[in-house]
């Protein structure tokens, strides 16, 4: 009786130990082998190995000598992909958006370049483990509201502090480009005699905001000049200080512009101000594809899984736009942010998959949630593919990560095994057992 009881216990202990070591593993040396490796930057490699050392990818290939002390993880029949990158989220800035006290997305004012998303990200947010459980290893989190909303951060989805997590803090200065916005179409249509129409009011507001934006840029430029001249009486201004890397062309401007007119104006603005522009939520980027290509402006797409922007657009317009942009030679990355799914960045891979049936090659869909995103955020040599020298942000799957039915089996961020458990899974186990 006793011996019969011991055998499973020993097995339990072995599993426990291996799990514990997996979880405790820091950025040491780990060799993944036997899997099909999908570097994304090059062709797939069957029965290959990936060596991770000090958080980075040390080697990739069909044959790798086992270094002394390396932990070996056998992955026969499984696949290794780079972790996915979501280029438009609010992760860490809000837990339950409807609860005011739980949201730090936006602040008061129109020009707030000094505000940093990295400051307010809660590394203990439940959204982080929930999101990464589906293979997303890093995200852009952006502040919102006003005109210059603040600084976005590119971060790994693992770490005790922002210092552990940050890939680029800041990654971009976010600008919500002014546009003519009426409360709704009924208000826009209503013309009360003797009273300014909603449209006229919105147009006036937009024109004022454009003047303010240009003035703000001009003031920032003069501030930079004054600072360089270091004359007497120079006073530090934190708003303008934050704009200097933008004016120097070191920090890209993430410009939100959805409709054709706004996108065109944003391109002209970026040209005139000589800022490095990334177009965000460019729903109508397809109408301006040639311009975007000519100016070498990359696009962060709004969700593919959305309704057509116009009632008389073809029903599948949002699905076919990524394919059209690909054919036009515009660089883009998928993102999850949109109505309903702003709380669901774990669905990022399905935004990419939805474009595949409608003209986007599948390998391009995968690159647009990995390598292209990294390149757009200026970290193409650090993230987004399985190549020597890059951060070891990897996922192990039992199939194509863009398919819902595929399971994410393991994850490594900066070369360390990441626990895939999360609030949802814990509640599942608890109540399944009830």
């Amino acid at each position: 009786m006793k011996t019969r009881g011991e055998a499973p216990c020993a097995a339990c202990l072995a599993i426990f130990l291996s799990l514990a070591s997996l979880r405790a593993a820091g950025p040491d040396t780990i060799l993944l082998r036997g899997a099909t490796v999908h570097p994304v930057s090059g062709p797939d490699i069957a029965d290959a190995a990936v060596l991770m050392r000090d958080g980075k990818i040390a080697e990739v290939g069909p044959r790798i000598a086992v270094p002394k002390g390396a932990r070996i993880i056998e992955l026969k029949g499984l696949h290794v992909y780079p972790g996915m990158i979501d280029s438009d989220t609010e992760i860490g800035l809000t837990e339950i958006e409807a609860v005011r006290e739980m949201s730090d997305i936006s602040d008061i004012g129109l020009f707030k370049p000094q505000l940093r998303a990295a400051t307010a990200v809660n590394p203990a947010s439940e959204h982080i483990p929930v999101t990464r459980a589906n293979g997303i290893t890093s995200v852009i989190t952006s502040p919102g509201g006003g005109i210059v909303a603040g600084q976005s951060v590119l971060m790994h989805l693992s770490g005790w502090t922002m210092e552990d997590m940050a890939v680029r803090a800041p990654a971009a200065m976010r600008l919500e480009f002014p546009n003519i916005r009426t409360p709704n179409r009924f208000a826009a249509a209503a013309e009360t005699p003797g009273r300014t129409s909603a449209y006229a009011e919105a147009k006036k507001r937009y024109e004022q905001q454009m003047r303010d934006l240009n003035d703000f840029m001009e003031s920032a430029r003069r501030y930079r000049q004054a600072k360089a001249a270091a004359g007497t009486g120079f006073e530090t201004d934190l708003k303008f200080e934050a704009m200097i890397p933008v004016l120097d062309g070191e920090l890209p401007m993430l410009i939100r512009a959805e409709r054709e007119k706004t996108i065109k104006e944003a391109i002209a603005f970026a040209d005139k101000q000589k800022v490095h522009m990334i177009l965000e939520r460019g729903a109508e980027a397809w109408k301006v594809a040639a311009d975007l290509k000519a100016h070498n402006i990359p696009v962060i797409l709004p969700p593919t899984l959305r309704l057509p922007d116009e009632e008389d657009n073809p029903y599948d317009k949002p699905f076919s736009i990524p394919g059209e942009l690909f054919k036009a030679g515009v660089k883009f990355a998928f993102a999850s942010f949109g109505p309903g799914d702003e709380d669901n960045p774990r669905n990022l891979p399905y935004e990419a998959a939805a474009a595949v049936g409608f003209g986007l090659p599948p390998e391009e869909a995968l690159r647009a949630v990995t390598l292209y995103a990294a390149q757009i955020w200026g970290v193409g040599d650090e993230l987004g593919s399985i190549e020597k020298g890059k951060w070891a942000d990897l996922i192990v799957t039992d199939g194509d990560p863009l398919e819902t039915r595929t399971q994410i089996k393991q994850m490594f961020i900066k070369g360390a095994a990441v626990d895939l458990d999360n609030k949802h899974h814990r509640l599942y186990e608890k109540y399944l057992a009830r």
């Binding site: 005699p193 669905n347 509640l427």
Partner: protein, 458 residues
């Protein structure tokens, strides 16, 4: 004469054909949902499925659709949608059972066509969630092109919306976020929500008795004055008598149990818990009542009562014996309920058939229309969706959709018609522009100037 008919046939095939004819879909992977999956054909006649099997004889004169390499499944059923309606919420009162979606059907809503193009053939259109007892629902088929009457799913069980929790309480809270409310409206707490429902059902019971007493007198040939009709209480009497299904919007486990107790006390069953994001916590109690759950696949955290929502909800409920469907509550999500179903495989390990049941036969049962739709079986309505790949794949797209045997969506045809539509649109825009230019050239009468430039007037 015969030769003439033969000559016409190819022409007829190019148009959307009427139901009174025979169609065979062949060479397809047929996913019946209830009777397995096989390589074979489906015979459709007079809008009904006549036969589905590996070998089906093609009758003379039948239209043949070759679906080689493609997948046919039952038309998708969405148990919770708000499309095709001119208004959704009558929020001025806490009990709005006197209103109904049937009176506000909008057959021109483009979302009907978009839903079709996502493989949906039937949807339950519900009143909103602004009140503990909301308006009457309407089950519709996505018969794009038909008038309001033509959309109605004839013979479907009538339904009514109930709602619990945050949305309902919001009208009782000052500074609510859902549009301006002119004043506070009871209830403002989950206690008040229960009270409003109990009060209304108590009234309904008294009203039911008035009519029964009256009927008894009539039966005894006594003189009797009929009670005054009450349009608010009539649907609630139907609820008490099991003639109208309750589809109840809810989130938290405690409020779910509250509603089940109330229904028990009044002697009726809640047909479905809509959303029921915490239903997994009380799966046992729900299963014991025989109540269904129609939920989201994976939405969470968008409000406080959705913070414990988990994507495993559907799978846990299925495992505990609850009849479950996945719904959209969104014109967008409605377009890909097939891959929403796939999420129940990922989260909780349902089988392919169990997953597809969540958007076909299960919602059909919840709506009381399972003898008509929800699976591919002889005798059922020929409501079918053809995908180019397995419908649980994220790469699959809808090729054709049949309702009552009629082809209502055809991707090929949609693509063919696009250049013509674009040309017509351009012609209209050009005409409008030409008109504007002509008007601009005319000298403006002085007295009109003031209204022409509203920006100048204050």
């Amino acid at each position: 004469m015969k030769r003439f008919v033969l000559f016409l046939l190819p022409l007829l095939e190019a148009t959307l054909l009427p139901a009174a004819q025979t169609t065979v879909i062949r060479n397809a992977t047929v996913i019946t949902v209830t009777k397995g999956t096989f390589q074979g054909s489906i015979l459709i006649r007079d809008g009904k499925i006549v036969e589905a099997g590996e070998k089906v004889l093609v009758p003379d004169g039948a239209r043949v659709i070759d679906a080689g390499g493609q997948f046919v499944m039952p038309g998708i059923i969405d148990c919770h949608s708000h499309i095709a309606a001119d208004s959704i919420n009558e929020g001025a009162v806490a009990v709005s059972s006197m209103v109904g979606i049937e009176d506000v059907i909008n057959p021109d809503d483009i979302d009907i066509y978009r839903a079709l193009a996502g493989g949906v053939t039937t949807a339950n259109i519900l009143h909103g969630s602004a009140n503990p007892i909301g308006g009457k629902c309407q089950v519709m088929k996505m018969r794009w092109g038909k008038d309001a009457q033509g959309l109605i799913f004839e013979g479907a069980m009538p339904g009514i919306k109930f709602a619990l929790g945050e949305n309902v309480k919001r009208s009782g809270s000052p500074g609510n976020g859902f549009g301006a409310s002119p004043g506070l409206r009871y209830p403002a707490s989950r206690m008040g929500v229960e009270d409003v429902i109990r009060e209304a059902l108590t009234e309904a019971r008294a009203y039911q008795k008035e009519w029964r007493d009256y009927q008894a007198k009539v039966d005894r040939h006594e003189q009797a004055i009929p009670p005054r009709r009450d349009l608010k209480l009539e649907p609630l009497v139907e609820v008490l008598e099991g003639k109208r299904y309750v589809h109840a919007h809810c989130y938290r486990a405690d409020e779910i149990l509250m509603l089940l107790r109330v229904a028990d006390d009044f002697g009726f069953k809640i047909r479905t818990l809509q959303h029921g994001l915490e239903a997994y916590k009380v799966a046992r109690e729900i299963a014991a009542e025989g109540t269904g759950v129609s939920t989201f696949s994976d939405w969470w955290a968008y409000k406080a009562e959705a913070f414990d929502a988990i994507p495993y909800n559907a799978a846990i409920l299925v495992r505990k014996g609850v009849l479950v469907s996945l719904n959209s509550d969104s014109a967008e999500l409605m377009r890909h309920l097939n891959t929403e179903a796939a999420k129940a495989m990922k989260y909780g390990g349902l089988s392919e058939t169990e997953a597809l049941s969540l958007v076909t036969i299960n919602p059909a049962k919840q709506l009381g229309i399972e003898n008509r739709v929800g699976s591919i079986e002889p005798g059922k309505d020929a409501d079918l969706t053809i995908f180019d790949k397995h419908p649980l794949s994220n790469y699959a797209k809808v090729e054709k959709v049949f309702i009552d045997g009629d082809l209502y969506f055809d991707r090929e045809k949609d693509l063919e018609e696009r250049p013509g539509k674009e040309a017509r649109k351009k012609a209209l825009i050009d005409k409008e522009k030409a008109q504007e230019n002509k008007e601009r050239k005319k000298p403006e009468p002085a007295e009109d100037k003031k209204t022409e430039e509203p920006g100048g007037a204050q």
